[in-house]
C-alpha cells in the first residue's frame, strides 16, 4: 500500500498481511470513483430517489425563543431512509461494491442502525449480507435484529470480548480475512484502517455541502457554531466538512455517560481519559489502560458507546480546529424531552448529545448569531431504548401485557 492515510500523526493502516491486497483494491476503486465526475452524480441521484436528500434544514423557533439566545437551526438527517445519516455511507459504499464486482457485504453494528442500513442497501443492490452484532446488543436491540433478518441479512451474535460494538468490528474483520475475494466490509464510521476514514467522510460530506447551501440561502450568512455528536465521528465529519475552511466554531459532543469522572463514559477527546493507541487497524485516541488494553465504555446511546474515535477528528482536535465536549446521560434525556415538547422533533439519543451541548451554550450568544445542530438520526425507531431511559410506566405496563399475550 502506498498511501497510508495519515492525518497528522493519526490514521494509518495497521492490517494483517492477508488483507493488504484487498485494501489496495479498495484504495484503487475509491480513487477511481472520486475522480469520476459521474460517480458523485450517481450517488446524489441514489440518495435523492431512494433516501430523502437533500434533507431539510429546520428553523427551531420555539427552542430559540425558549433560550433567548442564538437562532437555532437543525439539519434533519433523521429524515433519511432508515432514519439516520448511516444511509449516506452505506449507499455510497454499495456503489463501490458494484464497481468492485463483489456480491457479499458484511458490517458491524452496535445499536443496529448501521446494520439495518447495510441490510437495506444489500436488499436493494442484490448482495448477500451478514451483520456482526455483540450479543449484549442483540439482546437489547431486538427490533433492529428483526428488521435486519426481514431484510434478508444473517445476524451473527458476537460472543467474544465485551460483546459490544468493538467486538463486532473484530469479528467482521475475521470474516473479511477469510472471504475477502467476494466480500466487502461496509465499515459504519470514519474509523478503521485507511481508506475507511476517508471513504466514510467522503460520503457523509453530502450533509455539510447541503447544510452550507441551505443556511446561506435562508440566512445569507454562516452559523457561529455547529454541534454534532461524536461516536466514531461520521456524522460530525459529514456536517463539519462543509465549514472547515470558514471561521465557524465546530463542536463535537461525546458521550459523558454517568460523568467523565466516574469512568463510566465514552469520552475519548473531551476528557483526559483518552490516550493515543493503535487498535482495530488505526492510530487514534482510545480509552485504554496503561498496558494498552481497551477499557469498557458506557453511554445511554449505543451508537456513541465506542472505545476509539476517527483519526481525522483526533487530528482536528490536535490542531484546535474542533472543540470537544461531553454531555452526560441525564443532560441528554433532558435535552431530548425539551426538543420533543418544543419542536415536535424526536432526535435519536445519540443526536440528543449535540442538542444537550448546544442548549448549554446557546444562551451566551445573542440573537444575531446562528447555531446549527446536526440531528443525525431519529429517536422514534429507538422506542424501546428511549422508553427505558425515561422509565416510562405506561410503556412497561404495555410490554408486560404483550409478554403475557405471547405466553411464557
Amino acid at each position: 500500500m502506498n498511501s497510508r492515510g495519515y492525518h497528522g500523526e493519526f490514521g494509518g493502516a495497521f492490517i494483517p498481511e492477508i488483507l493488504t491486497a484487498t485494501f489496495d483494491q479498495l484504495v484503487d476503486a475509491f480513487e477511481k470513483a472520486k475522480n469520476d465526475p459521474c460517480f458523485w452524480e450517481e450517488y446524489v441521484d441514489v440518495m435523492s430517489t431512494y433516501s430523502c436528500r437533500p434533507t431539510p434544514l429546520t428553523f427551531a423557533g420555539n427552542l430559540t425563543n425558549h433560550f433567548k439566545g442564538a437562532r437555532i437551526y437543525i439539519k434533519r438527517e433523521d429524515l433519511n431512509h432508515t432514519g439516520a445519516h448511516k444511509a449516506n455511507n452505506v449507499m455510497g459504499q454499495g456503489l463501490l461494491v458494484k464497481r468492485m464486482g463483489k456480491h457479499r457485504v458484511i458490517a458491524e453494528t452496535g445499536a443496529g442502525q448501521h446494520g439495518v442500513a447495510t441490510a437495506t442497501m444489500a436488499a436493494r443492490f442484490g448482495f448477500r449480507c451478514s451483520i456482526y452484532m455483540g450479543e449484549v446488543d442483540v439482546d437489547r436491540q431486538r427490533p433492529n435484529v428483526f428488521w435486519m433478518e426481514r431484510l434478508g441479512a444473517e445476524v451473527i451474535p458476537v460472543k467474544e470480548g465485551t460483546r459490544i460494538l468493538k467486538d463486532a468490528i473484530n469479528e467482521a474483520f475475521r470474516d473479511w480475512v477469510t472471504n475477502m475475494d467476494d466480500t466487502h466490509y461496509v465499515l459504519g464510521t470514519a474509523c478503521g484502517p485507511h481508506p475507511f476514514p476517508e471513504i466514510v467522510s467522503y460520503f457523509q460530506s453530502i450533509i455539510g455541502k447541503e447544510a452550507r447551501d441551505q443556511i446561506m440561502e435562508c440566512e445569507g450568512k454562516l452559523p457561529s457554531r455547529i454541534y454534532a455528536c461524536v461516536g466514531g465521528g461520521s456524522n460530525a465529519l459529514g456536517i463539519f466538512s462543509g465549514f472547515l475552511d470558514d471561521g465557524v466554531e465546530l463542536v463535537g459532543v461525546e458521550a459523558g455517560g454517568e460523568g467523565v469522572d466516574t469512568g463510566r463514559h465514552a469520552s475519548r477527546l473531551a476528557s483526559n481519559a483518552g490516550s493515543v493507541g493503535v487498535a482495530q487497524g488505526y492510530k487514534s485516541y482510545f480509552l485504554q489502560d496503561r498496558d494498552g488494553q481497551m477499557e469498557e465504555t458506557h453511554s445511554v446511546a449505543a451508537g456513541l458507546d465506542y472505545v476509539g474515535v476517527s483519526p481525522i477528528l483526533a487530528s482536528h482536535r490536535e490542531r484546535g480546529r474542533i472543540r470537544f465536549e461531553a454531555a452526560t446521560d441525564s443532560e441528554v434525556l433532558d435535552a431530548l424531552s425539551l426538543t420533543i415538547k418544543k419542536e415536535g422533533l424526536i432526535p435519536a439519543l445519540e443526536s440528543a448529545h449535540a442538542f444537550a451541548q448546544a442548549f448549554k451554550e446557546t444562551p451566551e450568544l445573542s440573537r444575531d448569531h446562528i447555531i446549527l445542530i446536526n440531528q443525525s438520526g431519529r429517536g422514534d425507531k429507538d422506542i424501546f431504548t428511549i422508553a427505558e431511559a425515561f422509565s416510562d410506566p405506561g410503556w412497561q405496563k404495555f410490554i408486560r401485557k404483550k409478554g403475557n399475550e405471547y405466553g411464557t
Binding site: 500500500m1 497510508r4 494509518g12 493502516a13 495497521f14 492490517i15 494483517p16 498481511e17 492477508i18 488483507l19 493488504t20 491486497a21 484487498t22 467474544e160 470480548g161 468493538k166 473484530n170 474483520f173 475475521r174 480475512v177 477469510t178 472471504n179 475477502m180 493507541g277 493503535v278 487498535a279 482495530q280 487497524g281 485504554q288 496503561r290 498496558d291 494498552g292 488494553q293 481497551m294
Partner: protein
C-alpha cells in the same frame, strides 16, 4: 548465536522444526510455565509467547478466548515479560514474543525492544504491523539484535514478498491460508505451490502456521518448508487433556 544460525544448525538434524505457541497467563501464569516446560521436554525447537491483548484481530476463537481469560486472570505486560525472563533463563531454546502493536506502542517501541533483549528473547511477531507502519519497530529490533519476523500470506504478490523479506530476520512466517488461526487448512498442491513462491522470494527459513494440528501436517511440510507452527491445537489439547496430553501430543509429533 543468531536465530537463523540456530535454526540452520537444527535443520541439519531434522527435516522440519517445531515451533509452538501459547498465550501467557492462560489459564494462569503458573500453568503457562508448566505448559512451556512440558513442550520443551517434548522436543519443541522454538516457541512464541503471546502477550494477551483485548483486540486480537488476526486470531480465531480458541486463541481469542485464551487472550480474554488471561486478561481476566490479571495478566499484564509486566507479568508476562517477567515470566518470559524466567522461561528464557530456565530452558535452552529460543523464545519469541508474539503480540499486537498497541502493546509495544504503549510500552514505548524502543523500550519494549530493549526489554526483550535484556530478557534474552530472540525476536517478535506482530501481525498487525506491516513494515510500512513499522519503521521505528524495525530500527529498534535491529539496534537490539532481535529478529522481526515478517509474515507472508497466499494473497501476497511475489514483488511484495521480496519487499517484506528485505526487512525479515530469523525466519519468515508463512500464513497457510486465508482466515484466522485455528480453522482447518487444506494441505494441497495449492499450498505447495504457494510455499514454492515463498521459497523463491526469501532465503530465510520458512515457518508455516494456521491450521496445523498433527504429524501428517508436519510430514507435508518436509521439503516445502522448515518450521511447523502449532498454536490453537495446543490450547485445545491443554483444555481437553491437561498437561499430560500436551506432553504426549508433542512426543507424537517428533
Amino acid at each position: 548465536m543468531a536465530l537463523e544460525t540456530y535454526l540452520r544448525n537444527r535443520l541439519k538434524k531434522k527435516d522440519v522444526l517445531l515451533m509452538t505457541h501459547l498465550v501467557l497467563g492462560y489459564p494462569s501464569l503458573e500453568d503457562s510455565f508448566n505448559i512451556i516446560e512440558a513442550m520443551v521436554e517434548g522436543g519443541v525447537d522454538l516457541m512464541e509467547l503471546q502477550i494477551p491483548f483485548t483486540e486480537p484481530i488476526a486470531d480465531g476463537p480458541v486463541i481469542v478466548r485464551a487472550n480474554q481469560r488471561a486478561l481476566e486472570g490479571g495478566a499484564t505486560v509486566g507479568s508476562c515479560l517477567h515470566l518470559a525472563e524466567h522461561v528464557v533463563r530456565t530452558f535452552d531454546i529460543p523464545f519469541l514474543i508474539m503480540t499486537y502493536y498497541n502493546i509495544l506502542f504503549r510500552y514505548g517501541v524502543h523500550d519494549f525492544a530493549s526489554a526483550m533483549a535484556e530478557r534474552g528473547l530472540r525476536g517478535a511477531i506482530v501481525p498487525d504491523l506491516p513494515p510500512e507502519e513499522g519503521k521505528e519497530y524495525l530500527e529498534a529490533m535491529q539496534k537490539h539484535d532481535l529478529a522481526p519476523i515478517l509474515i507472508f500470506s497466499p494473497a501476497t504478490s511475489n514483488d511484495r514478498m521480496k519487499y517484506l523479506d528485505s526487512f525479515g530476520k530469523g525466519f519468515i512466517y508463512c500464513v497457510s491460508r486465508k482466515g484466522v488461526t485455528g480453522a482447518d487448512t487444506n494441505f494441497s498442491a495449492e499450498l505447495t505451490s504457494y510455499l514454492a513462491r515463498c521459497r523463491s522470494a526469501s532465503r530465510l527459513p520458512l515457518a508455516v502456521g494456521f491450521g496445523l494440528k498433527n504429524k501428517a501436517h508436519m510430514e507435508f511440510l518436509k521439503g516445502n518448508a522448515d518450521i511447523a507452527v502449532i498454536g490453537s491445537q495446543i490450547i485445545r489439547i491443554m483444555e481437553q487433556e491437561g498437561m499430560a496430553g500436551i506432553r504426549n501430543f508433542i512426543k507424537r509429533l517428533r
